[in-house]
């Protein structure tokens, strides 16, 4: 008991420290601007790292790249401080206008996207490239028909690949959240070609020279595309201000400077030996601190979600077993049953996205949304665990309490529930451990938890092996320690059973 209390207080101290840092950052005040932004004086920008050199996680652990440098310059011209939020690419468009003011992520102007957002003037012309294995003779659109294609979900490459699939039903399309995984599968022969933008294609070709090559989309008949900044529909003031800033940047040479810095420079490190890979995944630019912060975030979300889950789950379990004086189920029991059915019958990742984009769409605090979503999800499972724990308590205990003059609620509180919770402890521990691992999807709501950090670092180093295995090892060690501590707690609680 003592050890685990100390452990939890340690976690609490860390969380409080993290929250204080967050709060002080949020307190920053920029000078006032004439447009309404989500946070006054701040331009909140959505991007999706993993698309070098336009956006990736820089050496300091923050998003960097052409787009990031570019939008920061735009922000300067608008008199706004720029805050960058990293999220999954396919969540970007939906988050414009509620979670972010604008999105910049090498996003091509398409008619479909125009229905959801307005675009600035284009700031970059791109042509889609095709990455193939070295020695492959794919050079025309016909070669792509019937092949296995890869693209990043929601990108222009995805749209082009969709057209090819429509034209030839033998064609298989695999979509990825990030390019490094797609490139890995290309090398492994799981896909035949990746459709992506020119600059990242050339970056990957340089890093994996001798294994893959980049072919211009001209040869496949792809059209030139224009990258632009996405913003909420009807934001005319913001739009004209951004367009003016883009024109100014192009005129005063700032644009060329950023192009030279990011796009024409040699990017990407490649490490060959496993030791080099380890060094670049953990030690270079203090990347270990990113894993540590990711782990703390993971534990913070899991811990508070577990608290929410246990409190609401217990209430749901008590509601579920209520009976009226005729022994029939009550309306409370029905409500609880429906809640549990809905939560158990839908995927957790969808519940998280629904919470983020629909139910709590005005909340900017991703951690809060994640805690609520995971807590409400866990509550359904906790409710069933505790209900089973209550049913496992001998019915004589309830009868003894009632015949003494206790009400049903009093008997529950003093006699049955304490025994039920003790019965439920081992499955509750399992539930907590599952919860800790299930938080690995919070990247969808722009949070950098342990899994997301591993992904970000594999994007930056172009080599997924060490970051992914490393994150798995960290999860394993933390969960092993937790299992041991919870085992101690459980043995303490079993004391009254010793004969």
């Amino acid at each position: 008991m003592k050890t685990s209390t100390r452990f939890f207080s340690w976690i609490m101290v860390c969380f409080i420290a993290v929250s204080i840092v967050c709060l002080s950052l949020a307190g920053y005040e920029a000078r006032a601007a004439e447009f309404k932004t989500i946070e006054p004086g701040v331009l909140t920008v959505g991007t999706s790292t993993g698309f070098p050199p336009f956006e990736y996680i820089g050496d300091d652990g923050n998003p960097d790249g052409f787009d990031v440098a570019f939008i920061k310059e735009v922000g300067k011209r608008l008199g706004l401080k720029v805050k960058v939020q990293d999220m999954e690419f396919n969540a970007l468009v939906a988050s414009v206008g509620n979670k972010t003011d604008v999105a910049i992520a090498g996003m091509t102007v398409t008619d479909e996207r125009k229905q959801a957002v307005d675009f600035s003037d284009p700031y970059y012309d791109a042509v889609q490239y095709v990455l193939v294995r070295k020695g492959s003779n794919m050079r025309s659109i016909n070669d792509l028909h019937g092949a296995t294609l890869a693209a990043q979900l929601g990108t222009t490459g995805n749209l082009l690949a969709d057209d090819i699939v429509k034209a030839n039903s033998q064609t298989v399309l695999k979509t990825y959240d990030r390019f490094p995984e797609a490139v890995n599968d290309l090398k492994a022969g799981r896909v035949d070609a990746i459709i992506l933008d020119k600059t990242p294609a050339q970056t990957f070709e340089r890093i994996y020279s001798g294994e893959i090559e980049a072919v211009s989309g001209d040869e496949f008949g792809f059209e030139v595309e224009k990258y632009a900044v996405a913003m909420p529909k009807g934001s005319n003031q913001l739009s004209s201000a951004i367009n003016k800033a883009i024109a100014d940047l192009k005129n005063d040479g700032t644009y060329d400077r950023i192009i030279n810095e990011y796009i024409n420079a040699d990017g990407g490190e490649r490490s060959n030996t496993i030791v080099d890979q380890f060094v670049s995944a953990f030690i270079t630019s203090n990347r270990w601190s990113m894993y540590l912060n990711g782990l703390l975030l993971t534990m913070q979300i899991a811990f508070f979600a577990a608290l929410v889950g246990i409190v609401i789950g217990t209430l749901l379990a008590l509601m579920r077993i209520t009976k009226n004086h005729k022994g029939k189920n009550t309306i409370l029991s029905l409500i609880s049953g429906i809640y549990i059915d809905i939560i158990r019958g839908t995927p957790l990742v969808l519940q998280l996205l629904i919470m983020w984009f629909i139910i709590m769409k005005n909340s900017k605090d991703g951690v809060l949304v994640a805690v609520v979503a995971f807590g409400l999800n866990s509550a359904a499972y906790v409710a069933e665990i505790i209900r089973a724990g209550i049913l496992a308590v001998d019915s004589g205990q309830m009868e003894a309490g009632r015949s003494m003059g206790f009400t049903r609620a009093q008997t529950m509180r003093y006699i049955v529930l304490p025994q039920a919770l003790k019965n439920s402890l081992p499955p509750l521990c399992n539930e907590f451990i599952s919860l800790l691992k299930e938080t690995a999807i919070v990247g969808y709501v722009a949070l950098s938890d342990l899994t997301r950090v591993a992904n970000q670092i594999s994007s930056a180093t172009y080599q997924p092996f060490v970051p992914l295995i490393g994150a798995a090892v960290i999860y394993f060690v933390v969960i092993k320690i937790l299992t041991l501590l919870l085992g101690v707690l459980e043995r303490r609680l079993r004391r009254s059973d010793i004969r």
Binding site: H325, D394, G396, Q397, E399, A400, G401, R402, S403, M404, G405, F406, T407, Q410, Y414, I415, P418, Q419, K422, S496, D497, I498, R499
Partner: protein
């Protein structure tokens, strides 16, 4: 003190109690005997509404407890029950088993409740078990604690539901001994049991039930030495 009128009880289609009418006077010791399945435990459990009667009325000190408007919890404080399987609160120590109800339901201070509990424990010779958990006790010890737990509420009536049936034979005596002592205190006791010697010794009245009805009711020496109905005769011939 307790009066039962036209009591009927069904479990589904099964007709368990058939038109029971009975009056119990203050301080009476009633023993209910009968074959398994005759409805004697159900009858006892109806008296404190652990089983809800299908129809009929039960009055306790003039209050109709079968009327949902009356608070059955208040009545149960005066009419405790001792169970076949003891049902001590598994998550509480012996002392806490005894003091929980007086403290929570009668607002008696912890010190006073514990003092009274220790006095009662001394009377049954279990004061050294005060801090033990129920799982550490023998069956006979558990049942003596269960009786003490009831006594701590100062009830007017204690219902005993086969209190010795789950005990090893050598422990039956210690529990019956405590119950005999109780019978001299002026409490009303209603006891379902198979211990005919005990019934003969302490009962004011013995009720013989069979097939959901009260077949015969009389003073114990009449029931045991002069049974009238054939069913009672056949029952006694099997067990004596």
């Amino acid at each position: 003190m307790i009066s039962v009128k036209n009591l009927e009880k069904y479990f589904g289609d099964h007709h368990v109690l058939k038109n029971i009418n009975y009056e119990i006077k203050d301080g009476e010791k009633i023993v209910i005997i009968g074959p398994s399945g005759s409805g004697k435990s159900t009858f006892l459990r109806c008296l404190n509404l652990l089983e809800v009667p299908t129809s009929g009325q039960i009055f306790f000190d003039g209050v109709e407890i079968t009327d949902p408007k009356n608070d059955v919890n208040k009545i149960r404080q005066k009419m405790n029950m001792v169970f076949q399987h003891f049902n001590l609160y598994a998550n509480h120590t012996v002392l806490s088993n005894i003091t929980l109800a007086p403290m929570k339901l009668k607002n008696i201070s912890k010190d006073q409740a514990e003092e009274e509990a220790m006095n009662l424990l001394k009377r049954v010779g279990l004061q050294d078990k005060a801090n033990a958990y129920p799982s550490q006790l023998s069956g006979g010890q558990k049942q003596r604690i269960a009786i003490v737990r009831s006594l701590a509420m100062n009830p007017e009536v204690i219902l005993f539901d086969e209190p010795t049936s789950a005990l090893d034979p050598e422990m039956v005596g210690e529990v019956l001994g405590v119950m005999e002592e109780l019978s001299e205190m002026g409490l009303t006791m209603i006891c379902v049991t198979h211990e005919m010697g005990f019934a003969n010794k302490i009962a004011d009245k013995v009720i013989f039930m069979d097939d959901g009805s009260i077949v015969e009711e009389n003073r114990p020496n009449e029931i045991f030495s002069n049974p009238k109905s054939d069913r009672l005769k056949s029952f006694l011939s099997k067990i004596l």
